[in-house]
Symmetry: C2
Subunit: 191 residues, 2 copies
Protein backbone atom coordinates (compact mmCIF):
# COMPACT_ATOMS: atom_id res chain seq x y z
CA UNK A 1 0.00 0.00 0.00
CA UNK A 2 0.91 3.65 -0.25
CA UNK A 3 2.54 4.90 2.97
CA UNK A 4 0.02 7.19 4.70
CA UNK A 5 1.31 10.74 5.00
CA UNK A 6 0.77 12.40 8.38
CA UNK A 7 1.67 16.03 7.68
CA UNK A 8 2.09 18.49 4.85
CA UNK A 9 3.99 21.75 4.53
CA UNK A 10 3.81 24.68 2.15
CA UNK A 11 6.72 27.13 1.84
CA UNK A 12 7.25 30.37 -0.04
CA UNK A 13 9.65 30.19 -3.00
CA UNK A 14 13.33 30.82 -2.22
CA UNK A 15 13.35 34.27 -3.83
CA UNK A 16 10.42 35.35 -1.67
CA UNK A 17 11.82 33.86 1.53
CA UNK A 18 14.85 36.06 0.92
CA UNK A 19 13.01 39.19 -0.09
CA UNK A 20 10.45 38.80 2.73
CA UNK A 21 13.29 39.64 5.10
CA UNK A 22 13.74 43.01 3.41
CA UNK A 23 10.06 43.76 2.76
CA UNK A 24 8.78 47.12 3.98
CA UNK A 25 7.37 46.69 7.48
CA UNK A 26 4.42 48.85 6.55
CA UNK A 27 2.87 50.40 3.44
CA UNK A 28 0.81 53.30 4.66
CA UNK A 29 -0.60 54.43 1.33
CA UNK A 30 -3.40 52.07 0.44
CA UNK A 31 -2.93 52.35 -3.33
CA UNK A 32 0.69 51.20 -2.91
CA UNK A 33 -0.33 47.95 -1.23
CA UNK A 34 -1.74 46.55 -4.47
CA UNK A 35 1.35 47.67 -6.39
CA UNK A 36 3.45 45.71 -3.88
CA UNK A 37 1.29 42.60 -4.35
CA UNK A 38 1.33 42.87 -8.15
CA UNK A 39 5.13 43.11 -8.09
CA UNK A 40 5.18 39.80 -6.16
CA UNK A 41 2.83 38.20 -8.70
CA UNK A 42 5.00 39.39 -11.60
CA UNK A 43 8.16 38.13 -9.92
CA UNK A 44 6.46 34.74 -9.32
CA UNK A 45 5.79 34.53 -13.06
CA UNK A 46 9.30 35.61 -14.09
CA UNK A 47 10.96 33.25 -11.59
CA UNK A 48 8.66 30.46 -12.84
CA UNK A 49 7.91 29.63 -9.22
CA UNK A 50 4.13 29.41 -9.65
CA UNK A 51 0.94 30.81 -11.10
CA UNK A 52 0.44 34.54 -11.76
CA UNK A 53 -1.10 35.26 -8.37
CA UNK A 54 0.04 36.98 -5.18
CA UNK A 55 -1.59 38.26 -2.01
CA UNK A 56 -0.66 39.94 1.25
CA UNK A 57 -2.29 40.64 4.59
CA UNK A 58 -2.06 44.18 6.00
CA UNK A 59 -3.33 45.90 9.08
CA UNK A 60 -5.89 48.23 7.53
CA UNK A 61 -5.18 51.43 9.43
CA UNK A 62 -1.44 51.34 9.75
CA UNK A 63 -0.55 49.33 6.64
CA UNK A 64 1.61 47.01 8.71
CA UNK A 65 2.58 44.04 6.54
CA UNK A 66 1.53 40.83 8.30
CA UNK A 67 2.16 38.20 5.62
CA UNK A 68 2.81 37.57 1.93
CA UNK A 69 1.81 34.72 -0.34
CA UNK A 70 2.18 33.61 -3.94
CA UNK A 71 0.76 30.67 -5.84
CA UNK A 72 3.08 27.68 -5.34
CA UNK A 73 0.79 24.83 -6.46
CA UNK A 74 3.27 23.21 -8.83
CA UNK A 75 6.37 23.78 -6.68
CA UNK A 76 4.74 22.53 -3.47
CA UNK A 77 2.82 19.71 -5.13
CA UNK A 78 -0.27 20.94 -3.27
CA UNK A 79 -3.39 22.01 -5.15
CA UNK A 80 -4.41 24.20 -2.19
CA UNK A 81 -1.31 26.40 -2.38
CA UNK A 82 -3.04 29.41 -3.88
CA UNK A 83 -1.70 32.89 -3.09
CA UNK A 84 -4.60 33.87 -0.81
CA UNK A 85 -4.52 30.54 1.06
CA UNK A 86 -0.78 30.91 1.63
CA UNK A 87 -0.99 34.56 2.74
CA UNK A 88 -3.83 33.83 5.19
CA UNK A 89 -2.14 30.71 6.58
CA UNK A 90 1.11 32.61 7.10
CA UNK A 91 -0.76 35.50 8.76
CA UNK A 92 -2.39 33.02 11.14
CA UNK A 93 0.99 31.48 11.85
CA UNK A 94 2.67 34.86 12.50
CA UNK A 95 -0.13 36.10 14.72
CA UNK A 96 -0.58 32.77 16.49
CA UNK A 97 -4.32 32.59 15.90
CA UNK A 98 -6.70 30.89 13.49
CA UNK A 99 -9.12 33.81 13.85
CA UNK A 100 -7.89 36.89 12.03
CA UNK A 101 -11.17 38.69 12.75
CA UNK A 102 -9.85 39.77 16.13
CA UNK A 103 -7.73 42.40 14.36
CA UNK A 104 -8.61 44.92 11.65
CA UNK A 105 -6.87 43.21 8.73
CA UNK A 106 -7.30 43.22 4.97
CA UNK A 107 -6.26 40.67 2.36
CA UNK A 108 -4.97 42.36 -0.79
CA UNK A 109 -5.02 39.93 -3.70
CA UNK A 110 -3.89 40.30 -7.30
CA UNK A 111 -7.00 38.51 -8.57
CA UNK A 112 -10.52 37.71 -7.43
CA UNK A 113 -10.60 34.64 -5.17
CA UNK A 114 -11.63 31.30 -6.66
CA UNK A 115 -14.03 29.06 -4.70
CA UNK A 116 -11.17 27.67 -2.57
CA UNK A 117 -9.92 31.14 -1.67
CA UNK A 118 -13.45 32.39 -0.92
CA UNK A 119 -13.59 29.60 1.61
CA UNK A 120 -10.17 30.45 3.03
CA UNK A 121 -11.25 34.10 3.43
CA UNK A 122 -14.50 33.04 5.08
CA UNK A 123 -12.89 30.82 7.70
CA UNK A 124 -9.93 33.09 8.39
CA UNK A 125 -12.27 35.81 9.58
CA UNK A 126 -10.30 38.52 7.76
CA UNK A 127 -12.50 41.64 7.64
CA UNK A 128 -11.72 43.08 4.20
CA UNK A 129 -10.72 41.99 0.74
CA UNK A 130 -9.04 44.23 -1.87
CA UNK A 131 -8.99 42.72 -5.36
CA UNK A 132 -7.11 43.48 -8.59
CA UNK A 133 -8.19 41.38 -11.60
CA UNK A 134 -11.76 40.09 -11.89
CA UNK A 135 -12.90 36.48 -11.91
CA UNK A 136 -13.60 36.73 -15.66
CA UNK A 137 -10.04 37.95 -16.30
CA UNK A 138 -8.66 34.80 -14.65
CA UNK A 139 -11.10 32.50 -16.44
CA UNK A 140 -10.18 34.24 -19.74
CA UNK A 141 -6.60 32.93 -19.51
CA UNK A 142 -7.88 29.40 -18.89
CA UNK A 143 -8.20 28.73 -15.14
CA UNK A 144 -11.50 27.19 -13.97
CA UNK A 145 -12.22 29.11 -10.78
CA UNK A 146 -14.85 26.58 -9.72
CA UNK A 147 -18.46 26.82 -8.54
CA UNK A 148 -18.85 30.21 -6.82
CA UNK A 149 -22.14 31.74 -5.71
CA UNK A 150 -23.11 34.67 -7.93
CA UNK A 151 -23.90 36.79 -4.86
CA UNK A 152 -20.74 36.05 -2.87
CA UNK A 153 -19.97 39.75 -2.32
CA UNK A 154 -23.39 40.28 -0.70
CA UNK A 155 -22.91 37.07 1.30
CA UNK A 156 -19.61 38.42 2.58
CA UNK A 157 -21.12 41.85 3.33
CA UNK A 158 -23.83 40.12 5.38
CA UNK A 159 -21.03 38.58 7.46
CA UNK A 160 -19.20 41.89 7.87
CA UNK A 161 -16.50 41.25 5.26
CA UNK A 162 -15.93 44.30 3.04
CA UNK A 163 -14.98 43.72 -0.61
CA UNK A 164 -13.36 46.23 -2.97
CA UNK A 165 -12.77 45.22 -6.59
CA UNK A 166 -10.99 46.58 -9.68
CA UNK A 167 -8.05 48.04 -7.75
CA UNK A 168 -5.31 48.46 -10.40
CA UNK A 169 -7.22 45.94 -12.51
CA UNK A 170 -5.30 46.80 -15.70
CA UNK A 171 -1.94 46.21 -14.08
CA UNK A 172 -3.27 43.00 -12.55
CA UNK A 173 -4.39 41.80 -15.99
CA UNK A 174 -0.94 42.59 -17.38
CA UNK A 175 0.53 40.01 -14.98
CA UNK A 176 -1.98 37.41 -16.18
CA UNK A 177 -1.09 38.18 -19.80
CA UNK A 178 2.63 37.92 -19.04
CA UNK A 179 2.06 34.42 -17.64
CA UNK A 180 0.36 33.36 -20.86
CA UNK A 181 3.09 34.99 -23.00
CA UNK A 182 5.79 33.11 -21.10
CA UNK A 183 3.94 29.79 -21.50
CA UNK A 184 3.08 29.23 -17.83
CA UNK A 185 1.25 25.93 -17.15
CA UNK A 186 -2.55 26.05 -16.91
CA UNK A 187 -2.89 23.22 -14.40
CA UNK A 188 -6.55 22.52 -13.93
CA UNK A 189 -7.32 19.11 -12.62
CA UNK A 190 -11.02 18.94 -13.38
CA UNK A 191 -10.91 20.34 -16.92
CA UNK B 1 7.01 44.59 12.99
CA UNK B 2 5.69 41.04 13.06
CA UNK B 3 8.25 38.58 11.73
CA UNK B 4 7.02 37.38 8.33
CA UNK B 5 6.36 33.65 8.31
CA UNK B 6 7.66 31.77 5.27
CA UNK B 7 6.08 28.34 5.66
CA UNK B 8 3.25 26.56 7.43
CA UNK B 9 2.66 22.93 8.31
CA UNK B 10 -0.40 20.93 9.26
CA UNK B 11 -0.07 17.55 11.01
CA UNK B 12 -2.52 14.86 12.05
CA UNK B 13 -3.13 14.54 15.80
CA UNK B 14 -0.79 12.19 17.69
CA UNK B 15 -3.44 9.48 18.13
CA UNK B 16 -4.09 9.43 14.37
CA UNK B 17 -0.41 9.46 13.43
CA UNK B 18 -0.11 6.30 15.52
CA UNK B 19 -3.27 4.60 14.34
CA UNK B 20 -2.56 5.53 10.69
CA UNK B 21 0.29 3.04 10.84
CA UNK B 22 -2.13 0.24 11.68
CA UNK B 23 -5.01 1.35 9.41
CA UNK B 24 -6.36 -1.24 7.02
CA UNK B 25 -4.55 -0.93 3.70
CA UNK B 26 -7.83 -1.30 1.86
CA UNK B 27 -11.54 -1.35 2.63
CA UNK B 28 -13.14 -3.23 -0.21
CA UNK B 29 -16.76 -2.91 0.88
CA UNK B 30 -17.92 0.57 0.03
CA UNK B 31 -20.38 0.88 2.92
CA UNK B 32 -17.53 0.17 5.36
CA UNK B 33 -15.49 3.13 4.14
CA UNK B 34 -17.92 5.62 5.68
CA UNK B 35 -17.99 3.67 8.93
CA UNK B 36 -14.19 3.92 9.04
CA UNK B 37 -14.36 7.70 8.48
CA UNK B 38 -17.08 8.19 11.09
CA UNK B 39 -14.99 6.29 13.63
CA UNK B 40 -12.15 8.76 12.98
CA UNK B 41 -14.53 11.72 13.42
CA UNK B 42 -15.83 10.28 16.69
CA UNK B 43 -12.33 9.63 17.95
CA UNK B 44 -11.35 13.24 17.05
CA UNK B 45 -14.24 14.46 19.22
CA UNK B 46 -13.45 12.16 22.15
CA UNK B 47 -9.73 12.97 22.04
CA UNK B 48 -10.65 16.69 21.86
CA UNK B 49 -8.18 17.03 19.01
CA UNK B 50 -10.50 19.01 16.72
CA UNK B 51 -13.93 19.50 15.22
CA UNK B 52 -16.36 16.59 14.61
CA UNK B 53 -15.21 15.96 11.06
CA UNK B 54 -13.12 13.33 9.29
CA UNK B 55 -12.40 12.32 5.72
CA UNK B 56 -10.37 9.79 3.76
CA UNK B 57 -9.30 9.24 0.18
CA UNK B 58 -9.76 5.79 -1.32
CA UNK B 59 -9.13 4.24 -4.68
CA UNK B 60 -12.69 3.64 -5.85
CA UNK B 61 -12.39 0.16 -7.31
CA UNK B 62 -10.01 -1.49 -4.90
CA UNK B 63 -10.79 0.49 -1.76
CA UNK B 64 -7.08 1.12 -1.22
CA UNK B 65 -6.73 3.71 1.54
CA UNK B 66 -4.65 6.63 0.23
CA UNK B 67 -4.97 9.19 3.04
CA UNK B 68 -6.88 10.17 6.16
CA UNK B 69 -7.75 13.57 7.60
CA UNK B 70 -9.54 15.06 10.57
CA UNK B 71 -10.35 18.65 11.50
CA UNK B 72 -7.35 20.11 13.36
CA UNK B 73 -8.17 23.85 13.10
CA UNK B 74 -7.68 24.63 16.78
CA UNK B 75 -4.70 22.32 17.33
CA UNK B 76 -2.82 23.50 14.23
CA UNK B 77 -3.81 27.15 14.60
CA UNK B 78 -4.81 27.08 10.92
CA UNK B 79 -8.36 27.91 9.84
CA UNK B 80 -7.85 25.88 6.65
CA UNK B 81 -7.22 22.62 8.51
CA UNK B 82 -10.59 21.05 7.75
CA UNK B 83 -10.83 17.26 7.44
CA UNK B 84 -11.32 17.26 3.66
CA UNK B 85 -8.49 19.74 3.08
CA UNK B 86 -6.15 17.64 5.22
CA UNK B 87 -7.13 14.34 3.57
CA UNK B 88 -6.71 15.76 0.05
CA UNK B 89 -3.40 17.46 0.87
CA UNK B 90 -2.05 14.24 2.39
CA UNK B 91 -3.25 12.23 -0.62
CA UNK B 92 -1.41 14.64 -2.91
CA UNK B 93 1.69 14.33 -0.76
CA UNK B 94 1.55 10.51 -0.71
CA UNK B 95 0.97 10.23 -4.42
CA UNK B 96 3.44 12.99 -5.32
CA UNK B 97 0.99 14.94 -7.47
CA UNK B 98 -1.27 17.97 -7.10
CA UNK B 99 -3.68 16.42 -9.60
CA UNK B 100 -5.63 13.53 -8.11
CA UNK B 101 -7.78 13.30 -11.24
CA UNK B 102 -5.19 11.06 -12.87
CA UNK B 103 -6.37 8.19 -10.69
CA UNK B 104 -9.87 6.91 -9.91
CA UNK B 105 -10.17 8.22 -6.36
CA UNK B 106 -13.02 9.14 -4.05
CA UNK B 107 -13.10 11.42 -1.03
CA UNK B 108 -15.30 9.99 1.72
CA UNK B 109 -16.28 12.71 4.18
CA UNK B 110 -18.28 12.59 7.38
CA UNK B 111 -20.13 15.81 6.46
CA UNK B 112 -20.98 17.85 3.38
CA UNK B 113 -18.09 20.11 2.36
CA UNK B 114 -18.22 23.80 3.33
CA UNK B 115 -17.20 26.42 0.76
CA UNK B 116 -13.49 25.94 1.55
CA UNK B 117 -13.71 22.18 1.11
CA UNK B 118 -15.74 22.52 -2.09
CA UNK B 119 -12.81 24.52 -3.40
CA UNK B 120 -10.29 21.97 -2.18
CA UNK B 121 -12.23 19.18 -3.92
CA UNK B 122 -12.45 21.23 -7.13
CA UNK B 123 -8.73 21.94 -7.39
CA UNK B 124 -7.60 18.49 -6.24
CA UNK B 125 -9.31 16.93 -9.23
CA UNK B 126 -10.68 14.05 -7.15
CA UNK B 127 -13.39 12.31 -9.21
CA UNK B 128 -15.97 11.40 -6.57
CA UNK B 129 -17.32 12.59 -3.26
CA UNK B 130 -19.19 10.40 -0.73
CA UNK B 131 -20.91 12.39 2.02
CA UNK B 132 -22.42 11.54 5.41
CA UNK B 133 -24.17 14.44 7.16
CA UNK B 134 -25.84 17.20 5.16
CA UNK B 135 -24.87 20.87 5.09
CA UNK B 136 -27.96 21.71 7.14
CA UNK B 137 -26.95 19.18 9.80
CA UNK B 138 -23.63 20.98 10.24
CA UNK B 139 -25.23 24.44 10.27
CA UNK B 140 -27.75 23.16 12.81
CA UNK B 141 -25.01 22.65 15.40
CA UNK B 142 -23.72 26.19 14.79
CA UNK B 143 -21.01 26.18 12.11
CA UNK B 144 -21.37 28.77 9.31
CA UNK B 145 -20.42 26.77 6.22
CA UNK B 146 -20.03 29.94 4.16
CA UNK B 147 -21.37 31.11 0.80
CA UNK B 148 -21.91 27.98 -1.32
CA UNK B 149 -23.68 27.90 -4.68
CA UNK B 150 -27.09 26.22 -4.41
CA UNK B 151 -26.34 24.12 -7.49
CA UNK B 152 -22.85 22.96 -6.54
CA UNK B 153 -23.67 19.29 -7.12
CA UNK B 154 -24.72 20.03 -10.70
CA UNK B 155 -21.64 22.22 -11.12
CA UNK B 156 -19.48 19.31 -10.00
CA UNK B 157 -21.35 16.87 -12.24
CA UNK B 158 -20.68 19.15 -15.20
CA UNK B 159 -16.96 18.83 -14.39
CA UNK B 160 -17.12 15.05 -14.06
CA UNK B 161 -17.13 14.92 -10.25
CA UNK B 162 -19.70 12.43 -8.92
CA UNK B 163 -21.44 13.24 -5.62
CA UNK B 164 -23.28 10.79 -3.35
CA UNK B 165 -25.02 12.13 -0.24
CA UNK B 166 -26.76 10.76 2.87
CA UNK B 167 -24.43 7.80 3.29
CA UNK B 168 -24.88 6.72 6.93
CA UNK B 169 -26.30 10.20 7.55
CA UNK B 170 -27.82 9.22 10.91
CA UNK B 171 -24.53 7.91 12.25
CA UNK B 172 -22.80 11.01 10.91
CA UNK B 173 -25.28 13.23 12.75
CA UNK B 174 -24.64 11.30 15.95
CA UNK B 175 -20.99 12.40 15.82
CA UNK B 176 -22.08 16.04 15.42
CA UNK B 177 -24.44 15.68 18.39
CA UNK B 178 -21.69 14.09 20.49
CA UNK B 179 -19.47 17.12 19.82
CA UNK B 180 -22.20 19.45 21.09
CA UNK B 181 -22.86 17.23 24.12
CA UNK B 182 -19.18 17.29 25.05
CA UNK B 183 -19.02 21.10 24.69
CA UNK B 184 -16.68 21.23 21.68
CA UNK B 185 -15.80 24.80 20.61
CA UNK B 186 -17.83 26.34 17.76
CA UNK B 187 -15.03 28.46 16.36
CA UNK B 188 -16.46 30.60 13.64
CA UNK B 189 -14.51 33.68 12.91
CA UNK B 190 -17.02 35.62 10.85
CA UNK B 191 -20.07 35.01 13.02
Amino acid sequence: MTELATSFEVALPAWLRTSARSSPSRIAERARRMAFVLALAERNVREQSGGPFAAAVFERDTGELVSVGVNVVVASGQSLAHAEVVALALAERSLGTFELGDRDLELVTSAEPCVLCLGAVHWSGVRALVIGARDEDVRAIGFDEGPKPADWIAEFARRGVHVERDVEREDACRVLALYVDLGGPLYNATA
